[in-house]
Amino acid sequence: MMALNYAILKMFTKIEEGSVDTVIESLKDHYGTFKAFNKKEIINALMTAEANGLLEESRFELDASNELKVYYRAHEEGAATINKYIKG
């Protein structure tokens, strides 16, 4: 089992794009009991990864409940960096 932040980043190297909800849905079986496994912390991790060029924003929208949903993807260089540092 890898650290939560690693799993989040690694996930983006395997999918086209995803939002915080995608992360929660994909990782809840393994990380659902982690205290840091909540929307606020995951959004923070995604925005930090974006600020450092590991991920890029692909699109955003307001969902049915008027909540902002930002989608991210790992571009080629970001995915290469993630795979270089995070094995597995």
Binding site: M2, A3, A36, M47, L54, Y85, I86
Partner: protein
């Protein structure tokens, strides 16, 4: 990335999606409300990053004040006294390293405790043996024992003039961040860094008296070594916390710094000084008068470095490190509050120039954070 460009990106991304929707590439459309919400999210993230980085500077100030207080209580009074039997080498290097080791070890214990309470200790053990974890360990050694020792030695040799030299670390970090991690660094940001450096120089210049130290140049050289080491640590660990949670990153940092100070630096200085370093370590940790202040210094150091890493990761090295660089002001300020005002110890009053320097520093940080012309542009847009 500047505030304007974050907002621009939001709009561009929105347009991209709208165009995609029109061409059938995606099913969603971006409403003006979504653009407003996205802008608010981006600016709130950046604002939090700046606040976090500034808070790291304040924590650094308290870390300095409490460590200085701890080193003036109990057994430390005896060690620094005339009849301690310690050589000038031991007083200069060994006591400095012992003070740092006691603080860093207390800080490591705080970090492990907090990681446990906040459910992150498992991730700490998972991260430390990975490649990013080892990079952070290396950066922590460079920024921990290496930089701290260079800084303390520099201070002893050249006095407070070393403070502005060490405050060159944001410039070093910004340049390395540009080269290694392709972070933004433009002429405006460089100008802001220069202004912050001038402010630090104003604070450091207060230590310039009629008696110029004999080892001035060597002391300044050690100050520069500290700046390079902290520059490396700030930019590498700031980037590292985009992969590793900052609370885990700081636990790696403080455990590494505590162990390397306690088990390498102090014994080496002890051997050179021909003193029983082990006995001094035990005394340092068991002196009830001093250890309480080292515990508080350790907690402050936890905040100083954790928020430094987090701020750098959120804002990029140039802005994050410059906000943290306000420790040049917060250091003397917190020493004045804790040592001067609370404990009534003489000699900690802040000279007026330091207050002026604090204002200059804020201007420098403001220039790094955003283009002042954007304020006027925004006003014009609002009028239009």
């Amino acid at each position: 990335m500047g505030q304007a460009s974050v907002a621009d990106n939001a709009i561009i991304a929105g347009r991209r999606t709208s165009e995609g929707a029109m061409s059938g590439g995606t099913t969603s459309t971006v409403t003006p409300a979504a653009i407003v919400a996205k802008k608010a999210l981006a600016s709130s993230f950046r604002r939090r990053g700046i606040m976090v980085a500034l808070f790291s500077g304040l924590c650094y100030g308290f870390y300095t004040a409490f460590m200085t207080l701890g080193m003036s209580k109990g057994v430390w009074l005896q060690w620094y006294g005339e009849n301690s039997g310690l050589s000038s080498f031991a007083v200069l290097y060994l006591l400095g390293a012992l003070g740092a080791a006691t603080t860093d070890t207390c800080s490591a214990l705080w970090a492990i405790g907090i990681a446990n309470v906040r459910g992150r200790f498992g991730d700490f053990t998972r991260c430390i043996k990975t490649k990013p974890g080892m990079v952070m360990v290396t950066a922590a050694i460079i920024g921990g024992p290496m930089a701290s020792t260079a800084y303390v030695v520099g201070l002893q040799m050249a006095g407070s003039l070393v403070v502005p030299i060490a405050a060159l670390c944001p410039a070093v970090g910004a340049i390395l961040g540009r080269v290694w991690f392709k972070q933004e660094l433009n002429s405006r940001m460089m100008m802001g860094i220069v202004i912050c450096f001038i402010a630090s120089f104003m604070i450091g210049s207060t230590g310039l008296g009629d008696n110029v130290p004999d080892n001035l140049m060597l002391g300044l050289f050690f100050g520069f070594v500290a700046a390079v080491c902290w520059g490396i640590e700030g930019c590498v660990c700031g980037y590292g916390t985009s992969m590793i949670d900052p609370e885990i990153g700081i636990t790696i940092r403080q455990v590494t710094a505590g162990i390397s100070n306690l088990f390498i630096l102090v014994p080496v200085f002890g051997m050179i000084a021909h003193v029983n370093a082990f006995g001094m370590v035990v005394q340092s940790f068991t002196d009830p008068e001093a250890i309480i202040w080292f515990a508080l210094a350790g907690l402050s150091a936890y905040g100083a470095f954790m928020y430094w890493y987090k701020g750098n990761a959120m804002c990029g090295a140039p802005l994050g490190m410059s906000c943290n660089g306000t420790f040049s002001f917060w250091g003397p300020f917190c020493c004045w509050i804790v040592l001067g005002v609370v404990f009534g110890i003489d000699g900690w009053v802040i000279p007026p120039i330091a207050w002026v320097a604090a204002v200059v520093m804020v201007i420098g940080i403001f220039i790094i954070a955003m283009n002042p012309m954007d304020l006027f542009r925004k006003s014009n847009e609002e009028v239009a």
